[in-house]
Symmetry: C2
Subunit: 333 residues, 2 copies
Amino acid sequence: MTTDLPESFDVLCVGNAIVDVISHADDALLAEHGMVKGTMALVEADRALAIYGAMGPGIESSGGSAANTAAGIASFGGHVAFIGKVAGDQLGQVFTHDIRSAGVHFDAPDPGDSDESTARCMVLVTPDAQRTMNTFLGISSYLSPRDVPEALAQRAAVTYCEGYLWDQPVAKEAIRKAMDTAKAAGHRVAFTLSDPFCVDRHRAEFLELAEHSVDILFANESEICSLYETDHWDTAVAKVAGHCEIACLTRSELGSMIVTGDGQRITVPAHPVDAVVDTTGAGDLYAAGFLYGFTNDFGLETAGRLGALAAGEVIGHLGARPEVSLADLAKSL
Amino acid sequence: MTTDLPESFDVLCVGNAIVDVISHADDALLAEHGMVKGTMALVEADRALAIYGAMGPGIESSGGSAANTAAGIASFGGHVAFIGKVAGDQLGQVFTHDIRSAGVHFDAPDPGDSDESTARCMVLVTPDAQRTMNTFLGISSYLSPRDVPEALAQRAAVTYCEGYLWDQPVAKEAIRKAMDTAKAAGHRVAFTLSDPFCVDRHRAEFLELAEHSVDILFANESEICSLYETDHWDTAVAKVAGHCEIACLTRSELGSMIVTGDGQRITVPAHPVDAVVDTTGAGDLYAAGFLYGFTNDFGLETAGRLGALAAGEVIGHLGARPEVSLADLAKSL
């Protein structure tokens, strides 16, 4: 599946290609299955089946952290491409349809003769609107360097990768290739820490990335505190300022702070929301707004406000992709 | 896949087993593809692919008219079973999971060696909240009499079938078997006319059904007017009263009228709704509330009010299955 390659992109997003299965759940179900609320756990086929069997009726909606970010950037009107791996099954068709029709450039890599299925993530939304995720990666974890066309990273002002991919050795190499290609072409590299447990698993490498490879780092409070093994927000802020050109640190309803290597601290309030329904995708869409604003030279503060706007839209409904045009939403402000 | 069969059911629902693919669309897209707003069209694989390609990003949610009714009855706390045919593919697994976890008894019939896929319906929701549906039936249209276990129809106080199934000769035989079995066991038969175009295609047979087989008929205004080839509501009401023991006639925001063979005309107001988001499933959920109330001996008027309540819930969000417990909703009134 190849389409004509545009001359340039604002952003190339690299991440897991996942279809979310979203269901309301109560705290008892989480406890019964030993889940930690608000985090993402990788599950094998057996556990995936057990959890699915225990879940209520769901809706399926395309997801994947960096893929959500790509859909958000496209919704703002940005030029964006996505790299991730789906199988030739129905969920793979769903993922491919959804991201392309959102306006994202996506050439599904050849699944080869793998009998792995497309990744799915069981998202349990509790009455407090928190999401707890159980991901069965399937074919997504086999993303390899040969699935990363150099032409894409060479043409994108920013190449953005998700930390979640770091759990798979071959996918890690794929990220490295994307980052190295972007760097060699003189472009920027962005990265999200994804999840506090993910940071726990890869702290040394993530620190090395932050210091040497990443120009724009995205993290929420628990992730950045986990990275620097501190309980103190101020300590984490001070440390990251010495490591990255730009760090975008989100704090849920407290808004976000954009920290730069040259000493700026820009505080951006959260966008007011009538009712928080499902926090899935909040960080992904914050990154979308920021990266759209950043690559279109709107300045850091406006970029942060666009991030807050996009996050505010996505937490107002079930599912991690915008339901309305973010470009229209931005105009209406 | 067999589970222990309960001793009795309030309702057995027989219909197409469909996963809906729901997307927002504008009127231009409908016009471009020659769709008639508010109706259901059957599409072949090629046209299904073309429409899907033209649609925006979607969400997948289990659907199927009688299946939605079954999920609604279960949500009220009723004992309900469903018969419909899915393939062994991912969408078939989604459908099976969703209806079972909603509390509906469902033994998926053996798909045999068919290479047909699970049915999907592309639901385009326009800004006026109307839904326009394009259904690719796949394996669902192969529902046959041998997929209808007599034990189910013998144990259900009401056997409810959807008119949509009438489009397929073998499925028609399956309905006939379910209806005949129910009648022979001294139980009631209910039927929905489903869609005005569906009525057009099968008017003679539907009239014969209404007169001789159906005890409880469900129809909206355009369907009942189509059945009797009249433009006048009063004419249609007078005619159906002579044909069925009970007819439940819905009129969107004008509410519904329950018409009985012994001369009753019970008017039930529509349930007030904050904002109508997506009318998909309104008729299905009205039938759910009515059949739950009817089989639990709440009387016709209360049954109609439960129908209005369930319809009001489902049009307040995307998707044709209830998002909250209808039992709780009914209690809170």
